[in-house]
């Protein structure tokens, strides 16, 4: 099965929450130097709840789609809920099987999110 499924391509071509926030309560960036991918992430927390999130940067279809899907999922969740998200969650969210080399791409946005919690 190709990993370039409809949902992945749709989020790659029209990423949700792409850009930066004017006054984020926290921001971070992560990178994968071996493929040159970089993801920046801005969030606004109100109390314990994540109210707003945006991501920016360059990446492959997988990392971009993963960031888009993840940021969509995150809104309205509490810090505690978000801390529980892991590799298995990302695989389920994307709905595709990824080899050892590509799983890194899918995990990059999660790494950014975890740095903000």
């Amino acid at each position: 099965m190709s990993i370039y499924q409809e949902i992945i391509l749709e989020h790659y071509k029209n990423p949700r929450n792409f850009g930066t926030l004017k006054s984020p309560s926290k921001k971070t960036s992560v990178s994968n130097p071996s493929c040159g991918d970089k993801i920046g992430m801005d969030v606004v927390f109100t109390g314990k709840k994540l109210m707003e999130i945006k991501f920016s940067g360059q990446g492959c279809a997988i990392s971009r789609a993963a960031a888009s899907l993840l940021t969509e999922y995150c809104k309205g969740k509490t810090n505690e809920e978000l801390q529980k998200l892991d590799k298995e969650f990302m695989i389920k969210l994307l709905g595709i099987e990824l080899g050892p080399n590509r799983i890194k791409c899918a995990l990059l946005p999660l790494e950014a999110l975890h740095k903000l919690l």
Binding site: Y4, Y12, S34, C35, G36, C60, I62, R102, C105
Partner: protein, 433 residues
Amino acid sequence: MNLKNIRKDFPIFRHHNALVYLDSTATSLKPQSVIEKEVEYYEQYSANVFRGIYKISERATSEYKKTREIVAQFINANKPEEIVFTRSTTESLNLLAYSLGRKIVNEGDEIVSTIMEHHSNFVPWQQLAIENGSTFKVINVNNDGYLDLDNLKSQMPASPAGRSNIKSAAKNSNLEKLKQVITRKTKILALTYVSNVLGTINPMKEIAAAAKKINPNIMVIVDAAQALPHMKVDVRDLGVDFVAFSSHKMLGPTGVGVLWGKYNLLQEMFPFNYGGEMIQEVYVDRTVFKEPPLKFEAGTPHIAGVIALKEAIHYLRSIGLDVVRRHEMEITQYAINLLLSEFKGQLRILGPRDVDHRGGIVTFTFANYHPHDVAQILDEDNICIRVGHHCAMPLHESLRINATVRASFYIYNTKDDVEKLVEGLKKVQKILR
């Protein structure tokens, strides 16, 4: 030998008959004869070398020694004792940084390398300089993918392509800028013969001569990992001091590398690893080392691999390196033309345009498609290419590119492979557009 039926010599095509292998720069495929030679050792005379006074050990030793002779002939070394077996190009170069670098480079001295190096011919020198307070200088590349050594811009030989097989860039250039980099303090010039990203064939003989004119004591060290498999290399004719290469990129087994060095220089260097086989006599308070090459071959070597390298050289010779080179030039030219005409304005090829100055390597960026996605989609159709920075991060940084796509060619590749690559790239466009 005819290249037409050559694929039948490579058993991997029996296991994957639709395989389009375009990553020989990373490692080459192996012919049956090389695989059989390795098996022969394990099945028929798998004894240690130099040690046993019994027949199978003597057989192993003689096969091992024979390989040293064959390698020496292949690159026109002065004698077999100038050939040191290592694990890889990487190890050969690290050996030099350790055993030669620590001997001759002192605080205040200079080491010169280039921005187009593979990390294995960059990091050891950079680290040596950091360690001992010498200066690490780096020659840049210009926009056309040539070393920036020349004030007379792009003065290329005007001879028609294909007349001489092994022409390298900037033949009649004056290498003026070398004087700005190399000085009397420069102890080492370490550079690649062929860039594994740009494909550029550096004018090694001219550079070595020019460097030695500025400083007769300079040691010229050549990373020939991408040259040896693809074109005739005559180490004496080059006028350099050391040459490193890997068996696995020239149809041979993995785990075997070669370091060639002028014998008197090898004698003067520090040993590398200490241990068995590299010693003459050991006492409680001192050790007498063997002469090169054994001085640098401590421990049990990769015997089967070394022996099978002999077979790889035999295979390459039976084809003829001029045939190899011509075949690669033809495919490379075809690939460049086809890629540029099919993907006008979308695809940017790095490195020299003239295949006279370029090995069988075509590295490019493709629109704004991420190289990982390109590789993954091509893999769906069994097309193997390499993406990333190809162990040449300083080069990519200097070009301000994160990652590139690389297709590389060898004797078993055909124009059909190039066409499949183009079809694959069209599919990439269709999916990611």
